[in-house]
Amino acid sequence: MSHWIILPIVLPALMAPFIVLAARFHIGIQRVFSVVGVLLLIALAAGLAWHVADGTVIYYRLSDWAAPFGIVLVGDRLSTMMVLLTVVLALFVLLYAIGSGWDSRGDHFHALFQFQLMGILGAFLTGDLFNLFVFFEVLLIASYGLMIHAGGNDRLKAGTQYVLYNLIGSTLFLFALGAIYAETGTLNMADLGRRVAEIGPEETVGIRVAAVLLLLVFAIKAALVPLHFWLPSSYAEAPAPVAALFAIMTKVGAYAIIRVYTMIFPPDLDVTSNLLETWFLPAALISCAIGAIGVLAARKMDRLVAFAVVGSMGMVMIAISLFTPQGIGAALYYIIHSTLAAAVLFLVSDLIRTGRGNVDVTAQIPMAGTFLTAGMFFAGAIAMAGLPPLSGFLGKLLILQASVSADLVVWVWAVVLISSLISVVGFARAGSTVFWKSHGTLPDLDTDENKEVATPPTILSYVAIGGLFALLVLHTVFAGQVHGYTTDIARDLFAPQAYNSIVLDTPGKLSKPSEGH
């Protein structure tokens, strides 16, 4: 049995208290340990992803208790891919936080960052629903701290809304878990998949309620309309590197939906049939449209990017709600793309804030470092809006292609194409106002209080954004290979027998209880 799979959780869990206890007053040492920790995580994640790339499933039983009784961690191609995406994103976000000095504007940035990573990686790796809840809480409680990092009234106010919204989400999650346990007597995902399939058609009330509650919880995390209201304020008010890291948190919700609604409640299951089809796809279409309209209407750069995230989650959900291998494959390709693109845009909006002291979409004096910042915004906007040649275009094309056989294909095509057009217009409006019109306004050097705030960004900030952008280019160049891989993942998800038998049938302690329940 491989112990490697638990290291991505244990390493940040040890690194965070070490940073708090041993390096509390030395920001330099904190930075070194944080970066080294993330680099080690990248090595681990790459190793795990390479190990499972041929379709093997690795697992880890905590304390060696056999599967339905103990907690298992499971690494298959889907979870290791998400782990790798998370830690690579985390490295560049961390470099940006160090380069821009965000990490020294409040206490404990690096410790909270490590705890956040622990929660996200745990949520991807766990094979147990209650354990998923626990890791959700770990990532949330770290995100509360990161969200209000560096303080300020607006941030605290947005933070209160964010925390309360997520607390209600957690309560719903517990209700769903209680209902599932009451109906099936297990919380292990693989075991649930088997037991839910055995439920008779006359006893489906409880499990149907649980399935919908669970979907609501994940939809809150994934910011699906009408549960997206927490996202724009929270992401806009959070410090930029934190918002960039949060780009992966909405994807945790998407991952959980993919995992639970293919493994536990697959689309061909009688018990929960017709439960999601009627409203899941329309909700995704509306999120996509709301995101695009928000991009067009936003008067601040950070809100614009936040609405772009809502729109891109809508796009991911459209692909997921098809519940076909093609759809999920396209969704996974687009998840990688939109995580990187959203992070780039959040960091670029912080460059604008650094350059001129605010992020209003108004014509102001030319700012420090306009040339590079404008270029990066342009590239990020192309990626996010889904224009060729970057991967957003390919991702949207894959989603359109996957939806050809769906019932609502006309709606899907119309919404995806029109919302892309609207967000192109929105990005073009914001970009031309901020970067082009700036030369038309005369600088008022005497009265401008922003002058003291504005400083040119550091080289390391550019390196971090450039690195993310390079990943986007790679994601485009190797689109064929990546999409082939994600389609394989989707096929695995719809045929989970290998996963189930490895998790459930490998003997461990208590594998044959004398009298089970």
């Binding site: 209650f130 626990v134 809480e137 949330l140 409680i141 509360y144 209000i148 303080g151 300020g152 009234n153 607006d154 941030r155 605290l156 106010k157 947005a158 933070g159 209160t160 809304q161 925390v163 309360l164 607390l167 209600i168 957690s170 309560t171 517990l174 209700f175 878990l177 209680g178 209902a179 346990y181 009451a182 304020s233 806009a236 008010e237 008067r299 601040k300 809100r303 209003d360 108004t362 009298e515 329940h517």
Partner: protein, 116 residues
Amino acid sequence: MEVLVASAIGVLTAAGIYLVLRLRTFPVILGMSLLTYAVNVFLFASGRLTIGAPPILRDGVTTYTDPLPQALVLTAIVISFGMTAVVVMIGLGAFLGSDDDHVDDQPQGADAEQQS
């Protein structure tokens, strides 16, 4: 007993949702506490209600109560306790900073956005 427990959960949930909808920090936090009480009892009941039986499975014991929900409830209580402490601190900070305890207001940045 099932009726009593079920209606207790229902009343707690209803009161919790009512308080959460008041949209001011203090009632919302109280409402969240009621909701977490409701969910804790609900989780506890999800392993079926049994009176006077040990939560241990061993030779010679025929009636026993399911120990797993008790472990789940313990985890849920600890987490919700910690979360409530966090939200009290953040809510207090927001109230002291802006002298306003509404949780549905847009942050100041959004107001400025509308004026500009």
